[in-house]
Structures are given as C-alpha cells and as structure tokens.
Symmetry: C2
Subunit: 269 residues, 2 copies
C-alpha cells in the first residue's frame, strides 16, 4: 500500500515542469491525475539484442503494448513525445530486473544505464482518465489518492521470439449506468489501451481476489458498481518475469513518464 | 496504365479462395474491390538485419505504415492475419529491389526467398473502401476498373536508423458534399491508414501533376469533386528507393495481400 499523496497542485501542471520536478527527486509517487489531458507512458528498457523481439511482441499485442516512442540505442531522450527529456531520471520510480527478477526500485536509473540500451514508451490508461472525468465518470483511485489496482490475468499475449507472458489489466469500478459511456469515452483512444478488454466478473479473466491486486493498491467497489478492466502497460513487466531477459529497466507500476502530447492527439474521432 | 479488368466475380469471394487463385497465377491484377469487407495488406520483405530499423520506422510513421503482421524469419506464413497463407506466392504481383533499384516484377517471389527474410504486412486503404461504399460514396478507380492513383508527396516521414523517405498517398476524388462523410467513414480505421492526411490542392503536399501518379493509374476528377489523399502503404517502397537496403521484396502497388480478418475487426467505435 502506497501512502496517500496529493496530486491536486499538479493537475494542470506543464509536463516539462513535472518531469524536471521528478528529475530532481522531488516527486516519487504515482502520477495518475498529474498534467491531466497530457499523455502518460509506461516504459521498458531492454538491451538492443532483445529490442526487435519486443517490438514484434508489441505489434502482436497492441491493446496492452501500444508503442508511443522508441529511443535511439544508448540515448535517454524520448524525442517524439518529450524533446529534452531523459528517461533515466524523469520517472518517479523505476524497477530494475536481472534475469526476470526484480533487484532494485530506485528513483533514478542513471547508474544502471549503458550504451546498448533501448527504451520503449508505451501508452498508459491514465491518458484517457481525463476524458472519463470530463464525461462525468469518477475515478476511484484518484479520489482515494492511491495507485490504480492492476492484476495479472489468464489472458495470454501472443508470443514473439523470446517474449511471452500474460496480459496485465488495470481496474476501475464504474456505476452500471455509466459503463457504456466509459467504453465509448476510452474506445476513442486506441493508442493508450482504448476500450476495456473485460467488464464484470473478475474470475472470467483469471483474477482470484479483486481485493489483492498484483500491482498498485486495492480500491473499494461500491454497491451498484461493476469492475471494468483495461489492458495495461505493465504487461511488459509480466513478460519480463516470464521471458527473463538478462537485463531490463521498467517504470514502477503507476509511476509513469509524462509526455508533451495531449491525449486528444491520440484520439480517433 | 494497367488494362481494365473485372473484379465483380470476386467482390464477395472468400479470402482463402482468392489467395489460392493468386497462388496458382490465375489473378495478376490489382485487388481493390475483391473480398470486400476483408482486410487487404501491403507488404515489404527485408533481411533480418534491416527488420528492426523498419519496425521503428513504422512505429514513428503509423499513418502510412500501420503494421498488421510480422512473419517469423524465413517463414512465409502470415499467421496472424492469414493462417495457411504464403506471402511468397499469394500476392498477384511483386517488386524485387536490389540496393534500392527495382530489378524484377514477378507474379511469384519464391525464387527470391531465403531463410534470412522477414515479411511485414501493412494496412491498406482498400480495407476501408467497403465502408465508403456502404456509406454511399462511389470509388472512382473501382468504377473505372483500374488501379488507385498513388503519389509521392513532399511530406517527409520521421526517419529511423537507416530508413527514411517521403510519404506516399492514394487519392480518391470525392464530391464536396460527401467529404466529411468520407473522413468519418475512414477515420474509424486507424490500422488501415484511417482518416485522410490531406483534402484539396495537390500542390500543398508537393504533387505537381494530379494526372501523373507515380504509382497506379490516373483517374478522372469531375466537376464538383475534390481530390482526397490518404497515407499509403507504398510508402515503404519510397523508403526502399531512398534508403537502399541491399535487398527487398514488396507487393506491386495496388496488388495486395488479402487477409482473413474483417475490416470491422480494425474499426475503432
């Protein structure tokens, strides 16, 4: 359980300013609700030798792994979505993986960097939360000031080369009457996971206990609400656990890279 | 100028049957209008060493290069979009490229195949023509029984590794009153080029003579019609000409790979 934290002062902040704040180590919490209406991104960094397999994995699994940017090998700048950024320092918290095992959770990944690494920035459902809020749909984890709950499902991704693993989902409890609106509000954003992949019974996608998410924090599901599940950019981390590349850096779940583009730039219709 | 040909008998044909017909060499014409409502795909085949650069190029230029399938190195089967297919024989006409120069246009690419090659299948605007027809928008090149006109523009793609080049577009003349409908009907299909990238004055995107397309056939633009331009999957061929990989196989423009999925499978909303 992460401690409660308050994103209110950063709701309408500029992404560049928030990246600088994070770079200085002054924000180490999840980023949901920050810089609302700007795109947020998951990250996975891999040795160049594994990069092709991962790109094909992403192509075959576009719901959990929509790629927003790919850095040049050895270069920390996400030129497409955040000129001037540095993916080694601009994320509040990282996870360091060796042979598929989590070995560190630093707030700065610089000391783990080398010239052979490629970073992939992947769409995040936080990006469409602005559209949900605008549509009058409350976001429970925002209101609870905690991280979104994420679960490993039994929905297997299509493998590619050395990469395989289960789909990870994020969950938001939605009032029954608002579910169709939630589907349509998010379906317009295929590049940031788009429409939900499941609505209702958690057991149908292999989730045993809705109160025990594998990542993030549990949130209350109230009377008259249904759990709605979106494909999640933490899926590459589940693939890392299963596929065991010799080395990987990812963001810590919920602690995202905030890019410059507006969510609207990724909207279809 | 291709000779007129008649796709009428194949409008509602099954993709698997049409692929077999093509495999036997019994159809060597463009495929627009065949197997309507099923996805059609551009192809580029590259040595494995060039495959990563191309995938990053596609990620950075998703409008012209939306990837639908990537084959395993050396394997001719497009497993995702056409189980049982063979990309070496199931396209009506190929182009063979050496160092960026077109050297052959066979109807069977088998003799050029080797175990180091990877095929990329890329979304094609023919896929959304069914939706346009359903929306009551006539498709000129279908009615003229010729190939769609395609042009090299001055809109540069974002480079990636060794790949760079201009965006290629396809053009359809649309009645002024139907242009908004054409935008919306195609915008629902981002995986097959989606909404147009330009409407009107060809000179604004560097097209010098609308009657002289670089690929395909010129079509008549009638009084009260405006040329509408969609990003085109021939863009990788322009990139091949400029980037000069040692070897590449592509489809011949307009002569597509027909996959099993329905266009509707790629629709957003």
């Amino acid at each position: 359980m992460t401690l409660p934290f308050d994103i209110t002062p950063f709701k309408n902040a500029n992404p560049k300013e928030v990246r600088e704040l994070i770079r200085k180590g002054e924000w180490t919490h999840p980023t949901s609700g920050m810089c609302l209406s700007h795109v947020q991104a998951n990250m996975i960094v891999l040795p160049k030798d594994w990069a092709y397999d991962f790109l094909v994995f992403a192509q075959r699994n576009p719901k959990p792994c929509p790629i927003l940017d790919v850095t040049e090998p050895g270069d920390g700048e996400a030129r497409l979505i955040a000129p001037g950024s540095d993916v080694r320092t601009d994320i509040p918290r990282y996870r360091i993986w060796k042979d598929g095992v989590l070995v560190d959770e630093p707030t700065d990944a610089s000391k783990y960097w080398n010239d052979d690494l490629v970073a992939f920035l992947i769409g995040c459902s936080f990006s469409f939360e602005g559209a949900m809020v605008e549509a009058g749909i409350p976001i429970r984890h925002m209101d609870m000031c905690c991280n979104v709950p994420m679960y490993i499902t039994n929905v297997q991704c299509k493998p590619a080369g050395r990469f395989s693993g289960p789909t990870v989902v994020s969950m938001r409890p939605i009032k029954f009457a608002q579910v169709p609106k939630a589907v349509m509000a998010t379906g317009r954003f295929p590049a940031v996971h788009g429409a939900p992949i499941h609505i209702g019974d958690p057991a149908a996608i292999g989730i045993k206990d809705i109160n025990k998410p594998e990542f993030g924090d549990a949130v209350e599901i109230r009377e008259g609400e249904v759990p709605v599940f979106w494909a999640c950019g933490v899926t590459p981390q589940a693939a890392v656990m299963q596929s065991k590349p010799p080395f990987a850096i990812t963001h810590a779940p919920g602690h995202m890279f905030i890019g410059d583009p507006k969510d609207a730039d990724y909207a279809v219709l």
